[in-house]
Every structure is written in C-alpha cells, then in structure tokens.
C-alpha cells in the first residue's frame, strides 16, 4: 500500500507500543528457549545436573544413531498421519459443506464432542476394543469369523489408527472452512468450461482448499510429532516416538541436558520440515495464504 509509511525502530512511539509484545514474547517464549539451549551444554551424573559447560550432550546426540532412528520414525509416522487424516477428512468436510448442509450443525456438534472427550479415555478405549480378547474380536468371532482376526494392537498400525482418530477432526474443520468459503459459481464455471466432476475437484476445489489443507496439515503434523500416548498405549511402547524418548530422558534417566538437546533437535527438524513444505506447495505464489 502506498499510504504505508516506513517506520523506523528509532521511532520512540513505536518502541513504546511494541514494548508489551516484545516483553511477553521474550519472557514467555524466548527465555525458556534460551534456557533450554544453555542446558544442553551441561552434563548429568548420577541423576544430578552438573554445570560442565561442554559439548558432551551434543556429542552424544550426534554419535548415537538411535536418537535419529526414533526421530526418523516419528517424522514418518507424523507424515503418514497427516496424509491419512487429509484423505479421510476431505470427503467428510466436502459432504458437510455441500451435501449435508441441512444437518451441518448437528454433525459439527458431534465432531466437537468427539474432539473434546478426554484423549486418554479414547485411547484406552481403543486398546480395549482392539485387544486379542477385545470387543472387535468378540464381535467378529460371534458372527462366525476365525478368532483373533483383529491382531494389530501393539503395532505401528494401531499407533497410526489412534493418531488419525485423535487428530482427524483438525483436518475436518480446517477443510470444512476452506470448502465452504469456495464460491459455488467457481465450480459451476469449471463445469461450464468443460470439466467433469473429478476434473473440477482437481483443478478448482482442491487448489482453493490449499489454505485449509495446509493449516490442517501443520496442526496435525506438529501434534503428531508430539504424540506419546498413542505409541505407548496402542503401539505397546515397542516403537517409541520422539516425545516418549524425550519423556524417558527427562523422567527416567533424569538427564535434563540430553532431554533438552533432543527437544531442540525435534523442534528444529519439525520447523524445518514445515518451512520446506510451505515453500514447496507455493502458498505465496497463488496468493492464497491467509
């Protein structure tokens, strides 16, 4: 905009106005981060923190491959969760925004309820349902199917199921908002231009949903990266993800420097992936960024 006057940091008025925000950001966000960073240069001996100021922790982080194995596994699981959530959420959100407009509010209330129910409860419920002698197998065998057909509890599949179940609502909501904001005449225009239903989806609906897809993906990705309950309860803890590794490091190993370093690694890698993808899908180019 032409009427936007470039403002200098030497402008005392601006400084005063920005001060509260700057202070808040510094104390609530930056300071803990700096402290976490400083912590990584210490050591832990016999469950006690020692102010050693050396690179022992970072050496450990970069010399032990298993931290990275777990991180890779975490990123993979998070990416899979994002993909599955989007695939599941798109038709639901599309239906909500178009076909089932009449029951829109009822469905939204239901999803919200499913959303706010205690996550622990839901995950334990799934464990109970999927167990060898759980309700799923009980139901299947009672209609004459062989016993123990549902046998994927305590595998990565069960973890994935739990994460998708817990997080898909985020995708449904963000996609729903995106789809319901699309002008109906744009879809008609695509039909009119000669596009079939599928083509109109691909060329118009989907690109216009980009902000929703993106918002949902980032939310789900970051929440998945931090998931610990699902891999523990449904995955049987055998295939831990980063959050569990960090918890173990802080709580059972009482190794705060190492825990801090692992946390920073996870943060940096997650943020890097998010930035990389935002560049790749080119939100800026299409000018669709919110």
């Amino acid at each position: 905009m032409a009427d936007e006057v470039p403002r200098s940091w030497r402008d005392p008025d601006l400084l005063i106005k920005a001060l509260p925000t700057v202070l808040l950001q510094t104390t609530c966000f930056l300071a803990p981060l700096v402290m976490t960073f400083l912590l990584t240069f210490q050591r832990s001996r016999n469950f006690q923190l020692q102010w050693s100021w050396d690179l022992w922790t970072w050496t450990d982080v970069f010399s032990k491959p298993h931290y990275w194995t777990i991180l890779g596994h975490t990123i993979f699981m998070a990416a899979a969760t994002v993909a599955i959530c989007l695939i599941i959420a798109f038709p639901i959100a599309y239906g909500l925004a178009t076909r089932f407009k009449a029951w829109e509010n009822e469905i939204k209330v239901l999803i919200t309820f499913a959303f706010i129910t205690d996550a622990t409860l839901k995950i334990y419920g799934w464990a109970l349902f999927l167990d060898k002698n759980g309700m799923a197998n009980y139901a299947l065998s009672s209609i004459g199917l062989p016993p123990e057909m549902v046998a994927f509890l305590y595998t990565d599949w069960a973890t994935l199921l739990g994460m998708v179940y817990s997080l898909s609502a985020f995708a449904i909501f963000t996609l729903y908002l995106s789809i319901s904001n699309i002008d109906r005449s744009l879809i008609l225009a695509a039909y009119d231009a000669g596009a079939g239903k599928f083509r109109a989806h691909w060329e118009v609906t989907l690109p216009l949903c980009k902000p929703g897809i993106w918002a949902g993906s980032v939310l789900i990705f970051l929440l998945s990266v931090g998931a610990f309950l699902e891999p523990k309860v449904l995955g049987g803890g055998k295939s831990p993800m980063s959050a569990e590794l960090i918890r173990q490091t802080f709580e059972t190993r009482v190794n705060w420097p190492l825990g801090a370093a692992l946390t920073l690694v996870l943060m940096v890698v997650s943020v890097f992936i998010v930035l990389l993808f935002s560049r790749l899908i080119g939100l800026k180019r299409a000018g669709l960024a919110a």
Binding site: L186, L188, Y191, D192, P207, K210, G287
Partner: protein, 364 residues
C-alpha cells in the same frame, strides 16, 4: 434463419415453488436476446436450464437441433459469464482464459495463440497475462471473464447479469463493448438482466418475464411502444395509462369512450390494439414524449385538458405533471426549447396523434 436455441414448454419447480411455468422460446443463430424481468421472475433459472447446471422437470431444450436432455454442462456448446464473474483466483489471467482449452486437451502452443487472440479481442494488455484476477480492475476482470467464455468458441454465450455490479460509467463502456463483440464474433448471446434499458440498448429481441412465464417477446421498439400490458409498459421509462371503456370491438378496430379525452372520432385502428382486448374497460397508453401542448385553436387527433401542477428540468427536456378534471395525473415531456413553455397553474390542452397510442386490457 435457423433456431440455434429452441425451448419448448420448460417447467421447473423447487419444492412447492414453481420457478418456471411453461416457457417456450426460440432464438435464432447470431441473435442477441435479452431475458428481462424483476428478481424472482425465472430468468436466471431459465439460463441455468440452458447451461445445463440444472435439468428442467418437463419440457425440451434443444441447442443447434440437438436435444440437451441429460447432457451435462461440461458437454454443452454453451458458455456462461457469471454474475460474480467466477474467475479462478488461483490461476493467472492466461490460465483462466486458457482453462476451457486445457480441458479440451488443446496443445500448449495452440492455447497460447488462442489466449493471445482473446486478449487482443478484449483489448486487454498483454502484460496482464501473468497477473492474478484480483490484481485487475473490475472492468478488466469483466473482459477476462468474457475472454474465458469465448475462447472455446461456444455456440451460445450465456450472460448472467455480468454488468450488474459495475458503476454506471463502466457499465456504459462495457455495454458498448458487448455490442461490438457480438457484432464481431457473430455468436448467439443470451443475456439476462433486470435492467430493461440495458436490454433495449443491446438486444435484437427482448423477452420480458414475470412469475416464471414470458409476458412478451419482441424487438426493443415493440416492447417500448407496443407493450403487452401495463406491467411491461411500466417496466421501462414513464408512461401515462388512461382508463377507457370499449363499447364496440371489431376486426378493424374499436370504438371507445373516455372521461378526459376529447377524440375526433372515438375510433382506434386494430393495429394499435393488443390482441386480447375485448369490450369493456381497457387502458390507453401514451408515452410522455408523445404528448404535446396544443396552442389555442389548434386541434389534434385527440386532446386532454389538464392543469399543470409540477415541473422538472431534465436538461434537454422539461417534464411536467398535469391533472385532468377527472383527477388523472399525466406526465408530459417536451423539449426545453419548446415555443409554448408552461408554468405551474396553467390550464392547457395536451394533444396526441392516433398512431402514437396503444391500447391493452386491464390486468388483474
């Protein structure tokens, strides 16, 4: 001339609401036809049936002789310019215009060429090609929308009030543009508008609709001077409707009486009477500009005595309101340079020529 579009008794209901109550219409190749009417008259609904966004409940729509029943919008040789333009915000101008061609698997070089032609035809600047729609002005967006609709060389161009959101000045420019475009490409235009004046300017024929039915289909002159009834006559400009009583109706014309009118013979020829008019009460239409002030002693085919009550200057013309002894209000418009100016309170005689009047029945 062959009919490019043939609509036979099309009906469409939404639940209990009947949006189209049996519409039939035939449009000739290369014609510019306007569908006019107040909102809710069914004009947009009719357009949707033609475009194929909806299927009529009953009736038949044929385009270039082919029945369109069951043919989806994508497969119809029609193209629509939407009221809100519906330009794809995530595509550049070039991508927008080329979109219908891309869907038809046209090769890239050909698309580029045709898009270039369209840009030229629409008098858009070449540098706009890489811009996004929201970076263009309203009028430029309009041209892009037209270009996108024309690029695939449709047999029928359907325009759904595309000018309604523009300011008056821009509207005038684009109206002229549409007219030029129509002449230069020779495509059949079906233009929906609620603005009869716009329709008058643009269309070869006008189809006036109301409550899901066609009231009148005719040339702009027909609609203006030979309206099918008081609704059509009142839809554009101002008009004087004087109640008359028809005492005799024959094939050659009619004989009538009217309280305020001094007529030389009391007869009106058949070609000045709407078809359905029978004996009994009817309305006589006189456009304000066809009334003139009679100097003392001069006679006309008909004359009405009245007293001037108000006057408004309108630049080139002056408009007067005058009351007859019977209490009927009349609108008179005479050139500002008239040799017989009137003042408020003047008692005058207003004369008219027989060929300028039109008679139609009283509508329920």
């Amino acid at each position: 001339m062959t009919a490019i579009l043939d609509i036979q008794d099309v009906r469409k209901s939404y639940g209990s609401y009947a949006a189209l109550k049996g519409v039939s219409l035939s449009v000739n190749q290369g014609e510019f036809i306007a569908l006019v009417g107040p909102s809710g008259c069914g004009k947009t609904t009719l357009l949707k049936q033609i475009a194929g966004f909806e299927e009529p409940d009953t009736g038949r729509i044929a385009i270039a002789g082919a029945d369109m029943a069951g043919v989806p919008a994508a497969k119809r040789p029609t193209s629509m310019v939407f009221q809100k333009l519906a330009l794809f915000p995530h595509m550049t101008v070039a991508e927008n215009i080329g979109f219908p061609l891309k869907l038809r698997r046209t090769d890239t070089a050909e698309i580029k060429k045709r898009v270039g032609q369209m840009i030229e035809l629409m008098q858009l600047k070449g540098e706009y090609l890489t811009r996004y729609p929201r970076q263009l002005s309203g009028g430029e967006q309009q041209r892009v929308a037209l270009a996108r609709s024309m690029v695939s060389a449709p047999k029928l161009l359907l325009l759904d009030e595309p000018l309604s959101a523009l300011d008056v000045k821009l509207k005038k420019v684009l109206q002229a543009e549409l007219k030029r475009l129509h002449r230069s490409v020779g495509v059949t235009f079906v233009h929906v508008t609620h603005d009869l004046e716009e329709a008058m300017m643009l269309a070869d024929r006008i189809c006036v609709m109301r409550d899901g039915a066609i009231l009148q289909l005719g040339t702009p002159a027909d609609i203006y001077y030979r309206p099918a009834g008081s609704f059509v006559s009142g839809f554009i400009g101002e008009t004087n409707l004087l109640p008359i009583t028809i005492s005799e109706r024959t094939s050659s014309g009619l004989i009538y009486q009217a309280a305020d009118i001094v007529d030389t013979d009391g007869r009106i020829a058949a070609d000045l009477v709407a078809g359905k008019v029978a004996k009994g009460p009817a309305l006589l239409m006189l456009r304000p500009e066809l009334l003139r002030v009679l100097p003392p002693g001069e006679t006309a085919d008909g004359a009405i005595a009245a007293e001037v009550t108000e006057m408004f200057g309108k630049g080139g013309t002056v408009q007067y309101r005058a009351r007859t002894p019977g209490g009927q209000m009349l609108v008179v418009e005479i050139p500002g340079t008239s040799s017989l100016p009137m003042r408020i309170g003047d008692k005058v005689r207003l004369g008219f020529t027989k060929k300028d009047i039109y008679v139609f029945g009283v509508e329920a």
